[in-house]
């Protein structure tokens, strides 16, 4: 049988494709690996707290000085293994205190009442309804959860710090150094971070998953209320109905979920 060079090459090409296809298909099947065997399930705990958009109302009238905020900051940083860096440039913070004029630079500042001018404000990640950090993250390491929490997946963070540039609230910190030596007492129930990742408040997602309120809320003696913003019957909505509240840099349109009663 006489064959032209062209038809031979065509046949060879198709055969090579066929031979190559099988191992390639196997490769894709093997790289999956996350599948579950029949009968296996991944579930949420029945105790887990649920919401459409978690939010916080901070009643600043119940705080008088920095000393009132300290235990809240301490308990958060302790349970989340947040290191205390001496060098300010390396500082890691999940929840911290801020002067009114720094926390609310767009509010009227000229004739501030003395109480507000001197009161330290509790600031943390705002878990925005339209979080700019999530849009900036190139690896989807930071993402908005179904319940509104803006969460970090530390496994995916490549440390590019775009999110830090995008966040208008300074809620994110970068681990310039390995944080472990700077944690006074490591809490074995929560992982630490490593050098080169960004971190921030997680609204205590690990506590909500087992039916507990965030640590700062628990430690606040009722000054902080936590609940579902989308539920008209929730405690936070009741507070918002009864009180005039402000949010940080509202005009930016990020929709912060931390409300302050002043």
């Amino acid at each position: 049988m006489k064959r032209s060079r062209r038809s031979f090459l065509q046949l060879a090409g198709v055969s090579a494709l066929g031979l190559g296809l099988k191992p390639a298909a196997g490769l894709f099947a093997a790289s999956g690996g996350h599948g579950r065997a029949p009968g296996e399930k991944v579930l949420k705990s029945e105790k887990a707290l649920k919401a459409k958009q978690w939010a916080m109302v901070i009643d600043t009238r119940k705080f008088e000085s920095a000393e009132d905020l300290e235990p809240l900051i301490e308990v958060c940083h302790k349970i989340h293994n947040v290191p205390s860096m001496k060098d300010k440039r390396h500082e890691i913070k999940w929840i911290w205190e801020e002067e009114f004029e720094h926390a609310f630079p767009t509010q009227e500042l000229r004739f501030l009442p003395e109480r507000i001018a001197q009161l330290p404000f509790l600031t943390l990640c705002n878990h925005c309804e339209h979080p700019p950090c999530v849009r900036a993250c190139p690896t989807k390491a930071t993402f908005k959860r179904e319940d509104g929490i803006v969460l970090m997946d530390f496994h995916r963070c490549i440390g590019c710090r775009f999110c830090m540039a995008a966040c208008p609230y300074g809620s994110r910190s970068f681990n310039f150094r390995d944080p472990r030596p700077f944690i006074e007492e490591i809490n074995p129930d929560y992982p630490t971070r490593m050098k080169g990742v960004v971190e921030k408040c997680n609204f205590c997602a690990e506590r909500l998953a087992v039916g507990r309120m965030p640590a700062c809320v628990e430690a606040s003696n009722g000054a902080i209320t936590f609940g579902d913003l989308e539920d008209p019957e929730s405690e936070v909505r009741a507070l918002l109905r009864e009180n005039y509240t402000i949010r940080r840099k509202q005009a930016l349109g990020t929709g912060p979920a931390i409300y302050y009663i002043v």
């Binding site: 399930k41 949420k44 993402f143 074995p188 129930d189 992982p191 630490t192 490593m194 998953a209």
Partner: protein
């Protein structure tokens, strides 16, 4: 036309080739019969008493890394933290709190194979491996 093929400097060429082959295979000869012993990961008394892991032993041996990867995605990204096995047993999907609860001897369990295979998983950069010691 003369069709005989002559190998010029045959002696030198062959000697050179033999030396080359010996040199290249030297590491194999050098290490011959000195293979590192097969790792013997040890189970703690608690792990032995438990008998079953979250999946059968042979599957765990081969694919625990994929399982852990699935766990981390489910916990962090899907907020699902409970693993139910086919026979209805429930586990908290946590490396530090569940895996290391039974396999509390990381040096003699995890590390033996990881060192043998020369893999350095970076789990422990963040996840705490000495749960019990940290508590004390």
């Amino acid at each position: 036309m003369n069709n005989t093929k002559t190998l010029y400097d045959g002696g030198k060429v062959i000697t050179g080739l033999v030396i080359f082959v010996i040199l290249v295979t030297l590491p194999f000869w050098y290490n011959h019969g000195k293979a590192a012993p097969e790792p013997q990961p040890q189970l703690t008394a608690k792990a032995k008493a438990e008998k079953a892991c979250v999946r059968p032993k042979s599957i765990m041996k081969a694919t625990h890394m994929q399982i852990l990867n699935g766990w981390r995605n489910n916990v962090v990204r899907n907020a699902r933290r409970i693993w139910e096995t086919a026979d209805g047993k429930r586990f908290n999907m946590s490396l530090s709190k569940t895996c290391l609860d039974c396999h509390s001897n990381k040096e003699k369990f995890c590390d033996t194979c990881h060192n043998y295979a020369a893999v350095a998983p970076y789990c422990w950069d963040c996840h705490i491996d000495k749960v019990k010691e940290a508590k004390e």
